[in-house]
């Protein structure tokens, strides 16, 4: 039962010779005989804050799962932190698409965060060993630190099923952060949060990105809560993708050519963007949140 490598701490800045956080070249994914997307190119530098946008069923989660190595690429190639997908496990923090805990689950938030640290190690923690071993002390310190960082200290000792959705989401971000990852892959972390919580969780993620130098890729349904923080967006639609700065990608011209149909991007007086004319999502994706199998595109 050796402890996880304490050296897996975030790398700040893009040192010379450091491979990019994510590089995707002419990649495609086919699932169940259907091409989810193809011809996707993407370069994400270290410490960037990137959003994966697009309508329901465009394959946003599939892109994240391809980077994790859960879904194989049918063509093209991808590297994550300079390694093939699936090989950089320890250096990636992953928050899957919205999952809420059963209200009756009698496990504390701090336990969920701790599982992110050592849950994949065999065996059992030895009772009472916490006071003795340096590794356990280090683990406690790390867990307390990330919980503090996401502002969840006040409710981390309550059963996770009994805290609010926003509080659960902060604890899950702490869980994804606890090993000090260099890349955070967050699948719709703002989904089903109310507007004040969306804003505060978005600000939290951006703070992590800037202060800790963590590269963040966030799948989002609505770009507005995170728009002001973004370095880059990937817009998936109609089986294709466009990547670039938000001001270049979320425009009427770019989205119209991506969708192949006239799209209008309107800018509200408060800076919010409204995309008008997106084709309706296919009905079969309506229940995508109920389906947690890795084969579900969306």
């Amino acid at each position: 039962m050796s402890d996880p490598d304490p050296a897996a701490s975030p790398v700040t800045g893009a040192a010379t010779g450091t491979p990019p956080a994510v590089q995707v070249v002419d990649a495609a994914v086919r699932l169940g005989g259907r091409t989810i997307w193809s011809g996707v190119n993407l370069d994400v530098g270290r410490g960037e804050f990137v959003a994966v946008l697009g309508p329901n069923g465009a394959g946003k989660s599939t892109l994240v799962k391809a980077l994790l190595g859960i879904v194989p690429l049918s063509s093209g190639r991808a590297t994550v932190l300079g390694r093939p997908p699936g090989d950089a496990g320890r250096a990636i923090g992953y928050l899957p698409q919205r999952r809420s805990f059963d209200p009756g689950l009698r496990v504390r938030g701090i336990d969920i965060v701790r599982l992110g640290f050592d849950g994949d190690r065999w065996g059992l923690p030895i009772p009472g060993g916490g006071r003795l071993s340096a590794a356990r002390k280090e683990q406690r310190r790390r867990v307390a630190e990330v919980i503090e960082l996401v502002g969840a200290t006040a409710y981390a000792s309550r059963p996770i099923g009994q805290v609010s959705g926003g509080e659960q989401q902060r604890l899950l971000i702490a869980q994804a952060l606890v090993r000090g990852p260099q890349l955070l892959l967050l699948d719709e972390p703002l989904d089903s949060l109310d507007l004040p919580n969306q804003a505060s969780v978005a600000a939290l993620i951006s703070r992590l990105c800037q202060q800790r130098g963590v590269t963040v890729m966030i799948v989002a349904h609505d770009a507005n809560p995170i728009l002001s923080y973004l370095d880059r967006v990937v817009y998936l639609a109609g089986g294709r993708a466009v990547a670039g700065a938000p001001a270049e990608v979320i425009t009427s011209a770019t989205l119209s050519s991506l969708y192949g149909t006239p799209i209008e991007v309107l800018s509200a007086s408060d800076g919010r963007l409204v995309v008008v004319g997106e084709p309706e999502a296919p009905a079969r994706h309506a229940d995508r949140h109920a389906d947690h199998s890795p084969k579900a595109p969306g």
């Binding site: 496990v107 336990d111 599982l115 994949d120 059992l124 000792s157 309550r158 059963p159 869980q175 199998s293």
Partner: protein, 303 residues
């Protein structure tokens, strides 16, 4: 059921002397202790995984196992284990199963359970057996625990606990947070299958003491009560084992000094433990909410 000598008196040492005067009672305590510890530990994870229906089915399946063994004239203990482990593998073969939850899985589990009971009835009538033995198989008996049976229970129980300790932390991870666990490389599906086999083995062990229908007394009640009392995993697991031991010992003592079956007492004490824990938790939460005036409005905004 006992002769007049077994009478509860106010003299504690005389009571204890009476209790262990017969070898069958010593064996009942040995077997009960082993079974309580194993059931509490495995049951704790079962409750956490919401796999109680699977646990119940695996226990019920031990009835045809035992009845079939009696009919065929082979070891009843072997019958218990073979049937429960086979049923665990059948349930594990259902695609997408995690030991409880999805409707398709529930349907399969229910189907297995009904068929198992039917087979049990058939085996009993094929044997032309006595009604007494059926009652024993269904509702438990502690009279006939032999030395070799105690050894078997101990060896199997130690094996179950050893496997559980080896896979404990990833299994806990996979149980509360399967998506992240599988992204971290935890073999969630495989652990689910291993857990079902452990659950089947445990259900077969418990059945031999409480009977096939009252397995929940030790598999669910102490674990559920412990999880009501604390949300700290380590404490709650330890508390579950402690409650199971108390419930079992108290049930054996009560059954010894009265004319009613052990299954009734163990179940009743387990039920009382759960009822008191649930009531205590509700009460402490109610007091906690009232005691913190800032909490109620904050929750109203947050949720």
């Amino acid at each position: 059921m006992m002769e007049a000598v077994t009478e509860l008196t106010w003299n504690l040492s005389r009571d204890v002397q009476q209790l262990f005067a017969y070898h069958f009672m010593v064996n009942a305590f040995r077997a009960g202790t082993v079974v309580a510890v194993v059931a509490a530990a495995v049951g704790w994870l079962m409750v956490l995984r919401r796999a109680s229906f699977a646990g119940h089915t695996l226990a019920v399946v031990s009835f045809p196992g035992a009845a079939g063994a009696v009919w065929l004239g082979i070891s009843i203990t072997a019958g218990y284990f073979a049937a429960s482990i086979a049923a665990a593998l059948v349930i594990a073969m259902v695609p997408g199963s995690r030991g409880g939850g999805t409707s398709r899985e529930s349907a399969v589990i229910g189907t297995v359970q009904a068929f198992a009971l039917a087979c049990g009835v058939l085996f009993v009538s094929l044997y032309g057996g006595l009604l007494d033995s059926v009652t024993g198989l269904l509702f438990g008996s502690f009279l006939g625990v032999s030395d070799s049976q105690v050894v078997t229970l101990l060896v199997v129980g130690a094996g179950v606990l050893a496997v559980l300790a080896a896979i404990g932390r990833p299994l806990f991870f996979a149980s509360v947070d399967p998506d992240v666990a599988s992204a971290r490389g935890v073999p969630v599906r495989l652990l689910g299958v291993v857990f079902l086999v452990l659950l089947g083995t445990t259900a077969a062990e418990v059945s031999q003491i409480t009977g096939a229908l009252l397995v929940f007394a030790l598999l669910v009640m102490p674990a559920a009560a412990a999880q009501q009392l604390t949300a700290r995993p380590g404490w709650s697991l330890a508390l579950s084992v402690l409650l199971a031991l108390l419930v079992t010992w108290a049930g054996l003592v009560a059954a010894y000094f009265s004319t009613y079956p052990v299954g009734f007492y163990v179940t009743t004490f387990g039920f009382a433990a759960y009822g008191l824990s649930a009531a205590g938790r509700s009460l402490s939460e109610w007091i906690g909410t009232r005691g913190r005036p800032g909490l109620a409005p904050r929750l109203a905004v947050d949720r």
